[in-house]
Amino acid sequence: MTQTASLSKRNIISMNGLKAEDIKVILDTAVSLKEISTRTIKKVPTLRGRTIINLFFEPSTRTRTSFEIAGKRLSADVINISGTGSSTAKGESLIDTARNLNAMNPDILVVRHNCSGAPALISQFVDCPVINAGDGTHEHPSQSLLDLLTIREHKGSLEGLKVTIVGDIAHSRVARSNILAMQTMGMKVKVVGPPTLIPVEIERLGVEVCYDLGQGINDADVIMILRIQLERQNQGLLSSLREYSNYFCLTEKHLSKAKKDTLIIHPGPVNRGIEIALDVMEGPRSVILDQVTNGVAIRMALFYLLLGESDADTN
């Protein structure tokens, strides 16, 4: 890496505040780092001697693995801590956990937590940068960045694209990060779902709200399908998954009326046949696995940019 780019933010907690230039730098950096993962020897010495701690208080396969692989491909030492195996399970407060980890001088903390705002809280008590890997129903910035990278790869550019996000907007941290980031990049965002899963006053974030899937996607360049969670039924937000599917499962029938080159993305994990039909998921317009590949590149880019090129280049 010869570029000397850096970000205007020290912590990646929200897409709010990341400027278009920041996002562009992250995506460009990811593009140049992506090639490393295609080599036989998938490792460069860039972050040798650096320590990254993955602090995951919530179960995760994809995101945790993605951060771990990203760190390892850059030769950083990656430590994984899960909620159930940590002192939190013994009653230690979040801040005490953070302070203790900080005392071991990590270079980056990657945090996933089921409470909105937990990474923001931790960032006040540690000296290293914090990356939010998903907090409650707040945000999931790296997911949004990998979505943008995937879209840019397939569409060439981001500006002016129309995106429709379908599903449980109210509880989606992916939706929140994307609504902010996509608008920063000059894209137009529409959200589609049952009114019970659309958060109050979401229009004030500049998005259009629609309760009809067909109408919602007819002019979309990108359709993002969100995972619907089974417990919403018990909370009285859904009558049944079956009825949800009747109205919001993306099928070929819907797509026949959509743009020919519309792109379908999903943050995963997918409930096959509930929010997206099998044939659509595996069809030519779906780029769900590209998203996963790009996830590693995005996280490599974040590590690289946050740890700076200061001494990384000289190694």
Partner: protein, 427 residues
């Protein structure tokens, strides 16, 4: 020993007095109030030179949580009373959500005896409406009154069961004390930690809609005509609830309400950055609600100011937002925040003092809150002009949870006098 407070600007809303008066205290009672310079200064009189400051009846806060017994690490009756004195309050009413709950005579007596031993201001207990605040059976309201309680409340929780609330209003009538309701329909606020609106949407936090307050206020008002009890709405925060109280008052129903300073000086925007010091119940509301609260203060729908003083230790506040306790240290910022309403021309200075002194005492039928001749000498002297910056680390309260750190305000308590004795003096 007699004490003369001279050179002050005396404001006594209960007696419609506002001007340059001197005040003489004798044996803990107010002996004379005369135009400046009319009271003879003899050598046996202690002189307090107010030097142009405001001399007001002692402030009265009908809604505080002193955490004793049970949670003394947050506050005690002693530290709470010191916080009160520093805020200019000479009388406070303590809510019963202690551990154990103040739902019987022995706890009421414990609070009164602790107050007698350790408190530097008057501490009046409020008894529970239902045993254990469980909302299942009525507490022994007669016994609670006999032991010294001045009202009933399950504060922190609403009385959800409509039948039980109806009975509470009926039964309390026998003892002529009001039922103070924390108005919240719990089904609508389940899991919530802030006001429902654009900010809760952005922060990804479960919201508590204003309807939860409105519906409960509406229900309780509906129960009034037949029961004849007295309803006092605690910490009103929604515009809809203010409207409902206004309409009920116009019909002559026995309903009153109070507002906490944080509900007219802060909006839900204060929760941004997940500042748990801005986590309150009821939550900080949106701008339109704040405007309606101010209108309610202006037109008298809102009777008085009460702080809902809710001290919490860092272990309860320096945590994930959704896990943090609700509340704020209120006593030591009440005056400067109330004076903001004077600055905004919502209320006059005289009305502000009225809402901190005469009105709460009138509604709770206590013989306090004025500077009348023969009354107990509970007096607050404050400088309304000098600007200063709020510094929670200097609070006398055992807890420091306040979102007002660094606010530039005016209204500094110079001296608090209880029963003729100075209990707080600002140096």
């Amino acid at each position: 020993m007699r004490t003369l407070i001279k050179n002050g600007h005396l404001i006594d809303p209960g007696n419609k007095k506002n001007g340059e008066f001197d005040l003489l205290i004798n044996k803990g009672k107010i002996e004379a109030v005369e135009p400046r310079g009319k009271i003879n200064e003899t050598s046996d009189i202690e002189i307090i030179d107010a030097n142009g400051a405001i001399v007001s009846p002692g402030f009265c806060d009908m809604h505080v949580h002193f955490r004793e017994p049970g949670h003394e690490y947050k506050e005690t009756i002693e530290t709470g009373s010191q916080s009160a004195a520093a805020g200019g309050f000479t009388t406070v009413a303590v809510m019963p959500n202690t551990e154990p709950v103040n739902d019987n005579r022995s706890i009421t007596e414990l609070i009164i005896s602790q107050a007698k031993e350790t408190a530097i201001v008057n501490v009046l207990p409020i008894g529970a409406i239902t045993k254990g605040l469980k909302g299942e059976t009525l507490s022994d309201m007669g016994e609670l009154k006999a032991a010294g309680c001045i009202g009933y409340s399950d504060d922190g929780r609403p009385v959800s069961d409509s039948e039980l609330m109806r009975r509470a209003l009926e039964y309390s009538k026998m003892f002529d004390l009001p039922c103070i309701q924390h108005s919240e329909v719990l089904e609508l606020t389940r899991g919530g930690s802030m006001n429902e609106g654009i900010v809760s949407t952005e922060l990804g936090l479960k919201g508590m809609p204003t309807e939860a307050e409105d519906i409960m206020v509406h229900r309780d008002i509906s129960l009034l005509p037949k029961t004849g009890g007295r309803l006092h709405v605690a910490h009103i925060s929604s515009g809809g609830a203010v409207d409902l109280v206004r309409q009920a008052k116009a019909k002559g129903l026995p309903v009153t309400c109070e507002v906490a300073p944080h509900h007219f000086t802060l909006t839900h925007e204060a929760c941004r950055g997940y500042d748990t010091n801005a986590k309150m119940s009821p939550p900080l509301r949106a701008e339109p609600d704040i405007e309606m609260i101010k209108e309610g203060m202006r037109d008298g729908t809102i009777d008085f100011i009460a702080t809902d003083h809710a001290p919490h230790d860092l272990v309860d506040k320096q945590v994930e937002f959704s896990k943090a306790c609700f509340g704020i240290v209120g006593l030591e910022t009440a005056l400067p925040l109330t004076l903001k309403m004077v600055d905004e021309k919502i209320i006059s200075l005289e009305k502000a003092i009225d809402m901190l002194t005469f009105q709460p005492n009138r509604i709770f039928r206590l013989d306090k809150g004025t500077l009348g001749i023969g009354k107990v000498a509970d007096i607050t002297i404050f400088d309304e002009k000098t600007k200063y910056s709020i510094d929670p680390s200097k609070f006398k309260s055992r807890s420091k949870n306040s979102p007002y750190k660094g606010w530039k305000v005016r209204g500094k308590i110079l001296r608090t006098i209880v029963n003729g004795k100075t209990v707080f003096k600002n140096n």
